[in-house]
């Protein structure tokens, strides 16, 4: 089945996107097969025959038009059904933003990715911020919020296994969120033509189990918070922390 071409699906909203996609492919696939089947059947059945004469069916009366209009009404109905099914999924992925366990700032540039963690104090713009290039390390099972900006041209954050894609525009901060269900390493690809090395603008999303993540934090994060006395082991940043 063509859907087996879909890559692994590891985000919490991924299955919803896949289910919309599946619904559409089934609905539209059926319509497609019926239409092509009809076309093929007509082409075979109504080949020219010696002495034969075609029927005269101009399709001007409503009775005749019904043959086309009824299938069209069915198409219209299915269209609405698809729209209704898709709306909550779009809502979930793009319009809602669940409270994040971790907020990371992402800066895209020709041709790479820079990730800034708020550091132990949970605030951006303090000396204990942690900057990582290429590698985005996050815990599994927790909501991650990205605040994305671009240094130069338009880029796009795309991880196929997350089913997430979001363009990043210079001069603006664009949010995105995801929660990964399975630890592992996934590739981050730029998905908007951004220059001659666009194809090589790869990053790595490293998803760790919460325990491994705590370990990573304790090994890599700056030790002491410059500001508030928040525990260094806490990776949490409050929403207000993002304003730094």
């Amino acid at each position: 089945m063509i859907l087996s071409w879909l890559p692994q699906d590891v985000s919490t909203f991924g299955p919803s996107i896949d289910s919309v996609l599946k619904l559409i492919i089934y609905v539209v696939g059926t319509a497609f097969v019926l239409a092509e089947g009809t076309l093929l059947a007509f082409v075979i059945l109504y080949r020219r025959r010696e002495g034969g004469r075609a029927a005269f069916v101009p399709g001007e009366s409503l009775r005749q038009l019904a043959w086309v209009l009824i299938p069209v009404v069915i198409v219209a109905f299915l269209d609405v059904a698809i729209d209704v099914r898709a709306k909550p999924v779009w809502d979930l992925v793009k319009e809602q933003s669940p409270t994040p366990a971790l907020t990371v700032k992402l800066e895209a540039l020709q041709f790479g990715w820079e990730f800034t963690y708020p550091g132990p104090d949970g605030k951006f713009g303090t000396p204990n911020d942690l900057v990582q290039t290429t590698f985005l390390t996050v815990p599994a099972g927790q909501v991650i919020r990205l605040l994305m900006t671009s240094k130069d041209v338009i880029h796009s954050f795309y991880v196929p296994q997350l089913r997430l894609r979001q363009d990043i525009i210079p001069g603006r901060e664009i949010p995105a969120w995801f929660e990964v269900t399975q630890p592992g390493k996934y590739e981050i690809a730029c998905s908007q033509l951004c220059g001659n090395s666009h194809f090589a603008m790869k990053g790595i999303l490293r998803v760790l189990t919460p325990e491994e993540y705590q370990q990573w934090v304790s090994q890599h994060w700056p030790k002491s918070g410059a500001g508030a006395g928040k525990s260094a082991s806490s990776a949490r940043s409050s929403a207000s922390g993002t304003k730094g």
């Binding site: 029927a55 005749q64 069209v72 790869k202």
Partner: protein, 572 residues
């Protein structure tokens, strides 16, 4: 009776005395201009195919030397892709479907002696020729042709620091595009004026062939959608050459503005291409099925509704662009709604075949092939127009496969069908059927071999515009599909040999064509093949609609739109 006998020597045969230059090169005759467009479009088309050959080779066998070209570098790859898209859309699809067929057929089909403004018509051809030459020259300027993608998104395309060395290529791209737009606008003025004001007696609007209808709607769509983009192109040229900052975020501008301007034009633009292509199919189907088109008026209304709706959907190209996500919902709804008029058209075309008497001449094969693939292009638009699934599919090869399945069936497959169908009228000779069928099989099979795998690559997550897919591990399982696709392209290319042989040999050696070789109804068949300079010896009087085939009680299975000229053979 369909053969209109020459009545008397036309009084205005000034053209007989015209020299070669005025008759064939600087001609104001819409038929000659139409052929000029056709040659230009074919030439540019094969340039576009050659470019796709080079980058498709790179996609299938990355890093290997491409025969005839050599190794492809990354900047070259983006140059090839950008120019392929630009050439195919603006310098192939539009010149062939509007320039060639529109010019050649509209006056003949409505029963006029020429376009309303013959000199403007000539100017429009020479304008697009200049644009084409500039675009081709841009390959040879320092830094090569534009690398910014056919969508030319800012700020990538705005400041040459982002695409080092690509200064003149980018400028020439913008200039060539502006010239192309000017040319098509001139053409549109002629199309609309001619079809509105120069119809033969009896040619009411509800007797106009569907092809004319679709050309008209396409012209209106173009006229009303391109203006803002022309303004945008001028502004972007100022940015690049003068140093203004209309699109530069560091000067406070919004980069999404260009995308809005581009797609406000871009979506109607794909209908500007699709509609005349479907119009060709709708002319061919009835003739070779000997049946009336099903639901003529319904199709006309569907075309008009689709045209209107096409102005309301542009932001479906921008769901994940960073625009306000709330906007994605209305645009998703309008996009899906537009499938309704298209379903009407496509179902009506299928219904036309019901209880017909179908002959599989070459034009019919191309028409059926176009219809079959346009259906695929249509249905695959739904997952892209649905915002939720587009998050995943946007900018993947699924998109590439989808829009090639709308543009290639209309611009290329229907376009070839049109060439085979109207060749006798254009050149007065018949084309060879065997070579034609060979051409069809290679082109159609090859085309599907290219683009069916690309749907799967897209579903597998493979993005478009990727020079070296081996960078990503998720691309690994998809790579064999790229190989199949490229072999498909080679099949297409081989299939062009019978076409080119057929086209040029038939032009000089083909059997002489009768006035109405297909026993068709529309007015272009009511005059000589090729038509005389003034098209009709006497302007025909139209007595019926264009698709009255196999009308009960009639001896023949066709009923020409024109009243018989010879009193003896009178029938209408």
């Amino acid at each position: 009776m369909a053969e209109t006998k020459p009545q008397s020597a036309p009084s205005t045969d000034a053209h007989e005395k015209m020299g070669f230059w005025r008759q064939y090169i600087f001609s104001v005759d819409h038929k000659v201009i139409g052929k000029q467009y056709l040659f230009l479009g074919l030439f540019m088309g094969y340039v576009g195919v050659f470019l796709s050959y080079v980058f498709r080779w790179q996609l299938a066998w990355p890093g290997t030397a491409v025969p005839i070209w050599g190794k492809v570098t990354a900047p070259q790859y983006y140059e090839l892709v950008t120019m392929h898209g630009t050439i195919m859309v603006f310098f192939v699809a539009m010149p062939v479907l509007l320039g060639a067929f529109g010019n050649f057929l509209i006056p003949l089909m409505v029963g006029a002696r020429d376009m309303a403004f013959p000199r403007l018509n000539m100017a429009s051809f020479w304008t697009i020729l200049v644009g084409s030459v500039l675009l081709l020259i841009s390959f040879f300027v320092p830094g090569g042709a534009s690398h910014a993608g056919w969508t030319n998104y800012v700020p990538l395309s705005d400041a040459s620091k982002y695409l080092p060395g690509n200064y003149w290529g980018g400028n020439l791209w913008l200039i060539a595009l502006a010239i192309d737009f000017a040319s098509v606008l001139m053409g549109g003025i002629n199309f609309l004026t001619t079809a509105i004001a120069m119809r033969a007696p009896g040619m009411t609007i509800w007797r106009m062939p569907l092809f004319v209808w679709q050309e008209l709607v396409a012209s209106v769509l173009f006229m009303l959608s391109v203006g803002p983009l022309i303004a945008g192109v001028v502004m972007l040229l100022f940015d690049r050459m003068v140093g203004t900052g209309f699109f530069l975020p560091e000067k406070g501008a919004d980069p999404l503005l260009w995308q809005h301007l581009f797609w406000f034009f871009g979506h109607p633009e794909v209908y500007v291409v699709a509609m005349p292509g479907l119009g060709i199919v709708q002319e061919i189907l009835p003739v070779f099925a000997r049946k009336s088109i099903f639901g003529y008026r319904m199709i006309v209304w569907a075309v008009i509704v689709a045209g209107i709706l096409s102005f309301t959907v542009w932001a479906h190209h921008m769901f994940v662009s960073g625009m306000n996500p709330v906007l994605a919902e209305p645009f998703s709804a309008t996009t899906i709604a537009i499938s309704i008029p298209f379903a009407v058209m496509l179902f009506a075309m299928i219904a036309t075949l019901w209880r017909g008497q179908i002959t599989f001449s070459t034009p019919m094969l191309f028409a059926l092939g176009a219809l079959a693939n346009f259906l695929l292009g249509g249905v695959t638009g739904i997952p892209l127009g649905t915002n939720a699934s587009d998050i995943y599919l946007h900018d993947t090869y699924f998109v590439i496969a989808h829009f090639h399945n709308t543009l290639v069936p209309t611009a290329v497959i229907a376009g070839f069908g049109g060439i085979y169908y109207w060749f006798p009228k254009m050149f007065g000779r018949m084309m060879n059927e065997t070579l034609g069928k060979l051409h069809f099989v290679f082109t159609w099979v090859g085309f599907n071999m290219v683009f069916v795998p690309l749907f799967l690559i897209g579903l597998g997550g493979g993005q478009r515009r990727i020079y070296m897919s081996s960078v990503y591990t998720f691309y690994k399982p998809l790579q064999p599909l790229h190989v199949i696709a490229t072999i498909g392209l080679l099949v297409i290319i081989v299939g062009q040999i019978p076409f080119l042989l057929n086209f040029f040999l038939s032009m000089f050696r083909g059997a002489k064509a009768p006035a109405n070789p297909w026993h068709a109804n529309t007015l272009e068949w009511a005059t000589d093949s090729p038509p005389p300079h003034e098209n009709f010896h006497t302007i025909p009087t139209v007595v019926r609609g264009p698709y009255e085939y196999s009308v009960p009680g009639m001896e023949q299975d066709w009923a020409p739109q024109a009243a018989a000229v010879d009193a003896g053979a009178a029938q209408g």
